[in-house]
Amino acid sequence: MSAFLSRNRLIVLAYAGMIVLLLVTAIFSPGFLSVSNMRSTVVLAAFVGIVALGQTFVIIGGGIDLSVPWVLNSAAIVMALLCGGQDLPLVWVMPLLLAGGALIGLVNGVGVAQFGVPPIIMTLATNVILQGLILVLTGGSPTPSAPALIQFLSVGRIGGFPVIALIWLALTLVATLLLSKAAFGRHLYALGTSATVAEFSGVPTARTTVLTYLISGLTAAFAGMLLTGYSGQAYLGMGDAYLFTSIAAVAIGGASILGGSGHYLGTVAGAMVLTILTGLLPALNLSSGALLVVYGAVILITVSIGSETFAGLGGRLRGRRV
């Protein structure tokens, strides 16, 4: 147990932070812990969490995916256009757009792994290209409303549980299995720790890198479709906020931006922390500007706790070398 704690210190801390934050919020706003409020918090966190799933894989592998906003937005808008408010087309539209998201991820991954383009530049380029193409496609005009089925997936309930929370739970299980039990997970941590060492140890580094971006494209596209259901409509710019929140959730969850460490379970706590904060500020009567300040401070604090300086300090306090 203590071995588990020391190995996953940052993830445990993220959950501890989440619980403290929940209690603090409950003090300031007594209704916050009510079932209906917790339900809506989890639903909002699920969108961040699903987008951040792919981001977690990419960051553990030592990269970063800035193409998330417009992969998400493109999937949302194309889905709304192709379905025209009808449920039936979803049967082929959903797989098609998931494949589309995966394809963008594939392009990102191949650019990074095969052509040596820095991840920031590669994913930034695909992001602006997608943005332009979607603007050209829609001409800036709004799209039809979301099909009822997709609305059920994002706001519906099964036995009192929000459907999207169940989807998020299932995805969390899959991601945890991939990271902790599958060869892919071991390859990923090796790649993120040192690409050179991984390559010489026989890890298929190129394939692993491409897969992380592919997963990120997949989850961003999926989140885009679900988000359309949540807001009832797809609109331009709906993905913009998710670039910051997806990276922030991963960072708060304890992963190093340099790669090689972290776990999706930490990201889940990170997504919850970010969402609870959005709920806390109205209770304290604070503006959206203050929310951004708090977001920044929380990121700074959590990454500081994870830094070598603090780890060394903690080790010295306990009287042993780290």
């Binding site: 922030a248 500007g289 920044g296």
Partner: protein, 340 residues
């Protein structure tokens, strides 16, 4: 050269090729390939633009385009210094927003008050940047995350000061951008000043140390460089230039905006990368960045004269960004294979 000589030269071992007397033009060209690619792109864009629109090759057009590109150029100058150091600064977006917001709420018709606040904004930019550098060094944190966090904080402060676009600046401040000397407007003189600054700066002690610690932090440290001090100066300068960008931007918009800064974060990186600045640190020249900023700005003009939807502009800039990165990575590979 006869056929025999050519064959003989081709069969010479690689290391002998490099020791032959005279200037190694091919090596030099490969070294500067990313910059040359950027020049070529700019020439191509100007040529297409000039053939479709009359009056492109006039001073007026130069004045207009430089004014349009100057905010990005100032932001990208700071970003170039950080990239050469081997870091990245996302907080410039927050600083630009904060700068315009402070200016729009504090500037008055009284020149001394305005001058005070303008200097205060510049000082604030340097201090916040220096704080970024300090956090990165002291806590051994990644520049990406630290500046992401400070971007969010600065953006939040800007939104608290001025929740929506608004405020105003005195007319004479707005008029600064159209002030002329010898037929050239002030933005063009600023462009020349930026080039002169870089020409001076890269040869100073600080400039050399920044470049050295960007190419190899460990050897710079072992040569007695204080990494903490380098980071403070590097990010401080980036903040200073971001504040300058804010002061210039407000001559173009005439009002403050708490969200406008984010439009310059990634384009500033893109301009530098198009201009051949390496994201891995140690390599890059401001002239390249400025050309990159011109390329990104002129794409907008080009889209306009081609009579296609302005929505094609991001597509074109994305494609150009990818092309230039691919070109430089190919050139870098070629250069490396010559060295080895």
């Amino acid at each position: 050269m006869s056929v025999e000589q050519t064959v003989a030269r081709a069969q010479m071992p690689t290391q002998m090729k490099d020791t032959r007397p005279g200037i190694d033009w091919r090596g030099r060209a490969l070294d500067r390939a990313p910059f040359l690619v950027a020049c070529l792109m700019l020439a191509l864009i100007v040529a297409i633009y000039g053939s479709l629109q009359s009056g492109v090759f006039t001073l007026d057009e130069l004045n207009l385009d430089t004014a349009a590109a100057m905010t990005l150029m100032l932001a990208a100058t700071g970003q170039t210094i950080v990239l050469v150091r081997g870091g990245i600064d996302l907080s410039i977006g927050g600083m630009i927003s904060l700068g315009t917001v402070i200016a729009a709420t504090r500037f008055t018709d009284d020149p001394s008050t305005t001058a005070f606040w303008a200097l205060a904004i510049l000082a604030l930019g340097f201090l916040i940047g220096a704080l970024n550098g300090l956090l990165i060094s002291l806590l051994k944190l990644q520049p990406f995350l630290v500046t992401l966090a400070t971007w969010s904080i600065l953006n939040g402060v800007a939104m608290i000061i001025l929740p929506t676009d608004g405020g105003s600046v005195p007319g004479w401040w707005v008029g600064f951008a159209s002030g002329q000397l010898l037929g050239l407007t002030s933005p063009v003189w600023m462009l020349l000043a930026l080039l002169a600054f870089w020409w001076w700066f890269r040869a100073t002690r600080v400039g050399i140390i920044i470049q050295a610690s960007g190419s190899n932090e460990k050897s710079a440290f072992l040569s007695g460089v204080s990494i903490t001090r380098v980071n403070i100066v590097t990010y401080g300068l980036s903040g200073l230039f971001a504040a300058g960008a804010a002061l210039f931007l407000i001559t173009q918009t005439g009002a403050g905006s708490p969200t406008i800064g984010k439009d310059y974060i990634l384009p500033s990186v893109a301009a530098a990368v198009i201009g051949g600045v390496s994201l891995f640190g140690g390599r890059g020249h401001l002239a390249g960045t400025l050309i990159g900023a011109f390329v990104l700005t002129l794409i907008g003009n080009l889209v306009f004269v081609l009579h296609v939807s302005s929505y094609w502009q991001p597509v074109a800039s994305g494609v150009i960004l990818l092309l230039s990165v691919l070109a430089s990575s190919v050139a870098e590979k070629a250069a490396r294979s010559r060295v080895l």
